[in-house]
């Protein structure tokens, strides 16, 4: 006999202010199978959970409905609570009377009525619930870090230091990422390379870390604890085991004038190259698209001839390597927006209009100008530089609605660097708001203004155009309420931070979700900020949203901690709410198979009575070790044979009926 208890939470006044909780409990008492209903101020608190456990014992409850906040919040809490009291955790349902009721209503009678209906639905469902049991999943204790920037490096080091093997997959020749391109870092003005390089070396030498540079993710299969990842190791044409990184080849390569993407195309590199002198691994790659050997049928071969260790091997091919990992950290970083939608700023048209990253290279001692700030058009030292903030950010109409977060600070830093390197140069900053939330950030900004005399103009830039040998930046000073025109030798646009161009495609390969700007989505914005929606995939750095270095490093360490936490368990507890097949209904069309992201569906031969005959036929079966309970199969199944336990048609219809009838 079903005996349902209903527990209505006040959530302080969160619920109780808009919902008459006593009334809801009273209405619940009249629902079928409900033998007990009560309210409490904070059901999730210890006394609240104790109240549930006591009621289960006292009233012999075998099913429980908790009317409280979103199940996202406390479903697990209450499941554990009822389980401790001897009730199967899946015989507990949460009626969301906070997010879906009290928070969206003002009128108490309306809120109360709706809460009562939601409780009735949960009661109807829980009456049809059946006990479910979790299984155990093995864990492959190896982590994959996608992206070798500071986020990936930090995550890899933290995981490896905990004793687990890590593979870093980096698209470029070297790890280091965006941070390697930076000159100084705010607010301390440490040299970026000086603090990054040791970490790169650590990663390069760590016995538990393998770096797959010049590599990309080809495909990801499997599921939490048991991913099977195919990595494309692009052909480098250099045998890494033999190469000593002596540099003979890149120094002697006759093709010299290829744009260096590391230097934001402001400098050059040869066809065989390392990204920068401190590259890890210090093994060059041949850019086959521009190498004479490949363009002219085996001509040239200079590098091969000069290589003292015979490391050059033109015949190398891309290799697909399949490896198993238990967890994945996504740390694919960002790029800056191309700003094509803003022709009025002239990025790409006027050589002296550059982005902040270009400026970093121009100001960096390892950059194309060896740290001397020269404008790209004629190499002259700029005497006036305009920095434009929110270039493409916070612009719902044309760009991205979000704030790119780091620009206020790095532009202040760049203005300071300009003033330090060229004291007579003027620095103007066009801004919308200055956002300096962070330790010592506001002070840094004030120093820029007060100590370095950076000229901050509140307003947007309407147009940048050339005049004689300089640029004119027109805009509006909204504080003074008048148009301004500033002559500049260079314009530095703080271009919006956006995910890598292929972020969405990669997310689809890995099976994680992303938002409309293609930033990877976290499982919960507050409570699970470093986990993706997919079990075993974690997020670090700008691929999840714009952030600065300290935040990135913090998130990377957090993601690493999550990975380590996962690896520290003997086995993972698998989902209990899994798909199952009603074999009598299954027609064996296998439409469920291609939609299953976990490859959990397999054919199975069954024997069946058909009239007086016994027949054999093939139906779908779910491998409970692989199924993650996503429900895609249940949706695709045309015959209704596939169902998701815990969300069966009967249960959902009962909920609908309880609300509608």
């Amino acid at each position: 006999m079903k005996r349902i208890g209903v527990f209505v939470c006040h959530c302080g006044t969160n619920i109780a202010a808009t919902v008459d909780v006593e009334k809801v409990a009273e209405s619940a008492r009249h629902l079928p199978h409900v033998v007990f209903a009560t309210t409490y101020k904070f059901m999730c608190a210890d006394p609240g959970q104790k109240l549930i456990a006591d009621a289960i014992r006292e009233h012999a409850l075998n099913r429980v409905v908790v009317a409280a906040c979103s199940p996202h919040m406390h479903e697990r809490t209450f499941r554990k609570a009822v389980e401790r009291a001897g009730v199967n955790p899946y015989l507990m349902e949460v009626a969301n009377v906070r997010e879906q009721c009290s928070w969206v209503h003002r009128d108490k009678p309306v809120g109360t009525e709706k809460a009562a209906a939601l409780v009735a639905a949960a009661v109807a469902k829980v009456a049809r619930n059946v006990p479910l049991e979790s299984g155990k999943l093995p864990v492959e204790r190896r982590a994959l870090v996608v992206g070798g920037g500071i986020a990936g490096i930090q995550a890899a080091l933290d995981i490896a230091e905990s004793g687990y093997h890590v593979t870093i997959v980096e698209r470029e020749q070297s790890v280091g990422g965006r941070m390697a391109q930076l000159d100084k870092t705010f607010p301390t003005l440490d040299c970026s390379s000086c603090i990054l390089t040791p970490k790169m070396v650590d990663v390069g030498h760590h016995p538990m870390i393998e770096i797959c540079s010049y590599s990309e993710i080809e495909s990801v299969e499997g599921y939490v604890g048991n991913f099977e990842v195919t990595i494309r190791r692009k052909a480098t044409s250099v045998d890494p085991d033999v190469c000593t990184g002596c540099g003979e080849c890149w120094n002697r390569c006759p093709v010299k004038k290829l744009p260096s993407s590391f230097n934001m195309d402001l400098g050059h590199r040869p066809a065989i190259y390392v990204d920068f002198p401190q590259a890890i691994p210090n093994v060059p790659v041949i850019d086959r698209a521009n190498c004479t050997y490949y363009l002219r049928d085996g001509k040239c071969r200079v590098c091969e001839k000069v290589c003292p260790t015979k490391a050059i091997d033109f015949t190398l091919e891309d290799r697909l390597v399949k490896e198993r990992f238990g967890a994945i950290v996504m740390a694919t970083g960002f790029q800056t927006a191309s700003l094509q939608q803003y022709p009025e700023w002239g990025l790409g048209t006027y050589p002296d209009v550059v982005t902040g990253l270009h400026f970093e290279r121009l100001v960096s001692s390892t950059g194309p100008t060896e740290g001397k700030i020269k404008r790209p058009s004629d190499g002259k030292e700029p005497k006036s530089v305009v920095f434009v903030l929110c270039a493409g950010s916070r612009d719902e109409a044309r760009g991205r609605s979000y704030c790119s977060k780091a620009c206020c600070m790095y532009s202040a830093k760049q203005a300071i660097l300009l003033r330090e390197k060229i004291p007579q140069a003027q620095a103007h900053v066009f801004y919308m708001d200055i956002r300096t939330a962070g330790k010592d950030y506001e002070e840094f900004y004030m120093r820029a203004k007060e100590e370095y005399g950076v000229n901050y103009i509140r307003g947007r830039v309407a147009k940048v155009y050339p005049e004689k040998d300089h640029l004119v930046v027109r805009g509006e000073d909204t504080l003074l309420g008048r148009p301004v025109a500033v002559e500049a030798d260079m314009v530095v646009l703080a271009a919006a931070i956006e995910p890598r161009a292929d972020a969405a495609a990669l997310a689809q390969k890995v099976g994680i979700s992303y938002n409309r700007d293609h930033f990877f989505s976290e499982a919960h914005p507050k409570l699970r900020p470093v986990e993706s929606n997919t079990g075993g995939v974690f997020l670090a750095g700008c691929c999840q949203g714009p952030k600065d270095i300290p935040e990135t490093v913090a998130q990377a360490s957090a993601a690493a901690a999550k990975v380590v936490q996962m690896f520290s368990k003997d086995a993972l507890v698998s989902e209990a709410q899994l798909a199952s097949v009603n074999e009598a209904w299954c027609i064996g069309c296998f439409l469920c198979q291609p939609v299953c992201p976990y490859k959990a569906i397999q054919p199975k031969e069954i024997e069946e009575r058909r009239g007086r005959d016994k027949i054999k036929r093939t139906v779908s079966s779910v491998n409970t070790g692989l199924c993650q309970g996503c429900g895609a199969c249940a949706v695709a199944c045309p015959s209704g044979a596939m169902r998701l336990n815990g969300f069966t048609d009967e249960q959902i219809l009962a909920e609908v009926d309880a609300v509608c009838l």
């Binding site: 979790s134 027609i587 296998f590 491998n623 692989l626």
Partner: protein, 354 residues
Amino acid sequence: MSEAIKTAAPVEGEPMPAELKTAEIPTRRGPAPGDPEFLGALRDCCRSLLAEGHVQRIIAYRETPDSLRPEVAFFASPEETGDLVWDLFCNTNICKYLLDYRTFEGRIGVVVKGCDARGVVQLINDMQIPRDKVEIIGICCPGQIDPAKVESAAGEAWVSRVVAGPDSVEIVTEEGTEMRVPLESVLTDRCLSCRKPNPPVADVVFGEDQKGRISDEVFEQIAELERMSSAERDAFWNRHFERCIRCFACRNVCPACSCTKCVFDQQEPDWLAGERNQANQHFFQITRAVHVSGRCTGCEECDRVCPVGIPLRLMNKKLWKDVKDLFDSPLPGTKLGVRSPLVMWDPKDADSFE
């Protein structure tokens, strides 16, 4: 819970139980219907398939005393093929019978028109029967005659037989009178707007490719429906659905309906209650149409069998039009190995939620 934890080791995914062949099948050609040698050749073909053991059963039609209504027949031996028939009254779409042969040990031959053949292909694509188990004996169909139209043309006299020519038919009555009517006037409604009278896949084909009759009537009706306000459309369908007696003939003949336990037969939950009311009538009709959309081959057999004249083809065609516009996929049943776009997922799919 700890004691209840079960250990389940993951198992490698196995391949699909049967690979779908997508290669075009080489076909042989036989004489066309209307050719004096046609029936003999068809019978010979079926006889030898059975005699040589290529097939163990042939699903086709058999002559009956009522020449307007040949019956579906299942031929198990070469001797039986003597009364196998194929004429312009073979209206019944026989592809659905293949479902009864899902567990049959041998191979099955089916004598199919263009519309029937699409059903066969759809069943293969839905993995209800493997391609190599079916011998598709295709006929390029010149169009089928509606016996009711013939009978109504004959008036009170009883029709004895009908002799079909390329453009007209001669109706001979029991009393011996003869009358000639244009072929178009007695063709079934579906044949009048048939664009694909030829089997898209076959092992042997009789006749040369037919052009089909391109009447745009259905599409004009769809356009008209689309122009209606939702209230008008509701009234339109309500008028038709109201007549539905829920005999489920539309479902039972449909080559896209292959569920072992139909949602309408489920008792817990009882999605479709027996009570006759507007909600239930709509629920049945709309659920059926949506369920087969993306797999409906446009054979219009449902429309043919509906005893109360509900214009099912209108609904099916409208849904097909929408699916085609959204996913640009081929008409179901015209290509081997194509699965319904509505149940497949592709990152390139239209994403109207953005």
